[in-house]
Symmetry: C2
Amino acid sequence: MDTASDPLVIFTPSGKRGRVTAGTSVLAAARKLGVDLDSVCGGRGICSKCQVVPGYGQFSKHGVTVADDALSEWNAVEARYDEKRGLKTGRRLGCQAQILRDVVIDVPAGSQVHRQVVRKAATQRDITLDPATRLYLVEVDEPDMHTPTGDLQRLNRALAAQWEIGPVTADLPVLQRLQPALRQGNWQVTVAVHQDHQGAPRLVDIWPGFYEGGLYGLAIDLGSTTIAAHLCDLKTGEVVASSGIMNPQIRFGEDLMSRVSYAMMNPGGDAEMTRAVRGAMDDLVTEIATEAEIEPRAIVEAVIVCNPVMHHLLLGIDPVELGQAPFALATSDSLSLAASDLDLSAMNAAARAYLLPCIAGHVGADAAAVALSEMPGQSDDLVLVVDVGTNAEILLGDRSGVLACSSPTGPAFEGAQISSGQRAAPGAIEAIRIDPETKEPRFRVIGCDLWSDEDGFAEAIATTGITGICGSGIIEAVAEMRMAGLLDASGLIGSAAQAGTERLQPEGRTQAYLIHEDADRRITVTQSDIRAIQLAKSALYAGARLLMDERGVDRVDRVVLAGAFGAHISPKHAMVIGMIPDVPLDKVTSAGNAAGTGARIALLDRSARTGIEGIVREIRKVETAIEPRFQEHFVAANAIPHATDMFPELARIVTLPHVAFNTAGLSGGRARKRQKRT
Amino acid sequence: MDTASDPLVIFTPSGKRGRVTAGTSVLAAARKLGVDLDSVCGGRGICSKCQVVPGYGQFSKHGVTVADDALSEWNAVEARYDEKRGLKTGRRLGCQAQILRDVVIDVPAGSQVHRQVVRKAATQRDITLDPATRLYLVEVDEPDMHTPTGDLQRLNRALAAQWEIGPVTADLPVLQRLQPALRQGNWQVTVAVHQDHQGAPRLVDIWPGFYEGGLYGLAIDLGSTTIAAHLCDLKTGEVVASSGIMNPQIRFGEDLMSRVSYAMMNPGGDAEMTRAVRGAMDDLVTEIATEAEIEPRAIVEAVIVCNPVMHHLLLGIDPVELGQAPFALATSDSLSLAASDLDLSAMNAAARAYLLPCIAGHVGADAAAVALSEMPGQSDDLVLVVDVGTNAEILLGDRSGVLACSSPTGPAFEGAQISSGQRAAPGAIEAIRIDPETKEPRFRVIGCDLWSDEDGFAEAIATTGITGICGSGIIEAVAEMRMAGLLDASGLIGSAAQAGTERLQPEGRTQAYLIHEDADRRITVTQSDIRAIQLAKSALYAGARLLMDERGVDRVDRVVLAGAFGAHISPKHAMVIGMIPDVPLDKVTSAGNAAGTGARIALLDRSARTGIEGIVREIRKVETAIEPRFQEHFVAANAIPHATDMFPELARIVTLPHVAFNTAGLSGGRARKRQKRT
């Protein structure tokens, strides 16, 4: 065979290049040059992870011409692989193809170990795929009676020699499977090894021979109301299934403080709530594995984010200290533990669980996950990140530093404690417009793209019906009522006579606005709904304002709304009700479920765990509960949009009518009484 | 106060000396000079561990004269302590007494952290007390809302500042107790921290304020037949209680190979045996804590030694591979794991368990423990260490290296498979002498110091009776029969006519020697008992001989008999039956339960764990099961004492009669047939 001596190899897209001895395999050359080319089987032609695309012809950019015989011909291994599973045209197995002459080798994304997982929104950074748990195919030496060593010790020797990892430790359930697997696989086994940034590498699982199944991880967002999980393929980073379940702790209390009270008032109440949430999470794991049609054993990791109260209840720690100043966490650092310690028995018996660090007693691992997803500390302009939920987590910062606080908004934004409120589900009103002239409403419900005044609406919603108002719907309703002059700046609903529409109807001593009425139900916005929204938005705004004070600014450059619900909030309406500080409308973006995304990042990229632990240490925490200015901001924020703060950007696009319905001063007094923190 | 500037302080027995600023406490001076002075409370005058004895007057050896006012006067803390608990005359609390002038300070053994635990026998090294789990009293900062940190993080900060240890991790059950303990103790807590040579320090337990209870550990010798445990005070090294229990696995098979067979023949049989042994160990923990009148929670560690089959069954690993060549262990390294992983629920929930490393598939952690106790590798002369049990572990070595093997002696040495055999218990014959003239026996039974021919014997044994022969008794009986000419070199018992005593009585076609007869029972040594002892002693001798071959020697310098039973063997009788190679009688010593002692050393001195792990790597293993020379040695060793090897040392003290009872050649043929390994 005619070969060049020490041919040049250029890898794309990395641009790494170097000379290798003729006959070197592409995989070996990649390793030598530090090119990111994957392999699970270590060059045995089994796993096909090292597929590459050689380029032929002239590459003036690289200054090389690649001859047709630059690589060795297809060999038997490649032919067999192609026959068995098919190799895309133009592809070679990197472990089989030998470099004979100068060549350009492209490593497709699917063959990179640390490939990027593309996130959709343009503002979001891609995720680097570098999971803590990976598969390795190893050939283990057979035991020798004359130099006796344990099978685990020989496995470790093989891992060190063939993969330069380990030594691994093995929990008993895995150790118990080691000997049969080695013998069944004729001394060739695939092992799943977990190595995060803490502790020694661990053997998570073992299969005889080459294991063809995947490895999966769960990114779990454990909220006060719902538990959401994304099942991710640790090989591709893809979300292969998502599922959610109600947090069964709701029966012990709707919001966090009522659960803390339950624990305080009922001996063993904390343990009861711990059992409930662990059980629900375990059910969710089973459900999501069934949905994705994978073996639960293939789920080897979980990353969990949650607020501090959920954090403690999940860990089995009485949350009583979180219910009173100084709101001391039992532990604030991240935790890496066995999933079985959390009774997550549905997944792999040796699966690991990672909990992100908490920022403070009121600012949890969920806020840390939002910080990981949104990276306010890497922002050039000053960004306010608001994670809207039963408790709002608020981050403010840029490259010069990040501040954080939480604010007890209560569940009104999620449709709870609203007379016609419901959670976001088909049939719920999610958007509403009120004609400023006629004061007539039109609306859209979840599950139908038509507005209520469009043709075919009645037919389209026939199955779901119109069942209530969800969180984004109630925000729009309040804002639209304000814009249509049905509501004054103090939050008082006018009477039919004052505002000029029969849709305003008395309810006791106050008024309610009728949105929809049919045989089944009557959907209105009542005075008490307005008050609930006012309390929630005041708390949110006051928290943001407090961070701005700390930072010494009167305005922010942009606002990111996070939380599953944040994705559905209309920025304009949010600003009309004064939920968020005044910024140009196009500077308000949604990050979707940023906490869940943060969990997914920490699941897929172990270096992100070190990252967020460092970030959390640098974040400055502001405690709203004991800050007198929080109360001042809260009171001032009660008006719609605000009693004192100017909203010049809002004024550019909306002119709010000057109306005032308070004739007796009664409702104003009531509102003040209710401004106390719940 | 008139003080010297920078007075000189000399500590005894260490001899460490140096100058300190006048007014420095003795404890601070000790720390500065690297003197081993204990303290749990860190100088708060609570724990009294730092007691010292100042010396006054002239010390010509040290070149100092100590004035009466060399130390500060008794202060209120010392007075209170003395009143409450009493301080021995002449003692001071090192944390309270300040050095004002030149002084000599003696640190009594009880105040040293790394004090020596004295072992009784002169040949044995003392144990350095340096347990993996220790207590620390710490003052933890209260939480600060403005710089929020978790309680665990503040505890770690305190441990680092006050004790220079940590950071510790905490398992969930301990973490769950952290917050209440800190608040109940008003931010002063005592913590038990486990730090062995592997892994990060762990928080094992926490108590509000100063914990006055002790910490205990268990040294467990898990044998095939019995499980023995010593409860040790980790502060003093003392054994405070010892207890034993039968290994319930006996119902699955008397010896190891029959248990391996049980696992092979019965699906789930291994798990059944695992449950049985773990349950028994857990019961033993409860029992020993009750006996010692301590809280089981105070037991924070266990060190376990056992043979490889017990090792695997305890860990829940199917022992099937240990039943067939190449006798591969699932894991041979030492293991540090949670005691709860072994279902040891009676002790502290966060207690740790340490298993010594195994040497080979037939030479287990028990042999490693014997090596740790007897240290053959540090012997100047060539020592043979024999741990006698159902399986004998044999070590041969000196400073130039150590060899190890195991030999399947079977249970005959423990009195099993012997017609009148029983385990060592009151009533069992443990010593016997046969008059060479009259051929009449006299004997001693366990529980009575009189010989059977002494006055008062009958009364003394009235309650126990004479119930059978234990292991040491049967060895003496066989040896005495040989010396009295009742037994020939081939192991054949002569008839009454041949040997001249009516105590020889026919049993079928063979003879038996009557030792004792009463209304309840008839105690004899039968031909088949002799054969069982011959098999056992041949296996033991052959193993020793194989190691001598490997080493290239024909004799050893000394022999150490280990094992609980080894302590009771008469060296002369052992040599007469040819159990051990010929050495001068005074060169045969007993090490008692050396495996148990090894476990105790590893429990009390964590550095011994690193030590034994290194030693085990250096030991050369010899596998008897596949070694043809083992069979040759076994056959040659069947004769009493031996067919070919000379016993010159034995000949100096005993002259064995030349008798031969084989007239038909029948029994000899039978004996050969039975020489196959079981």
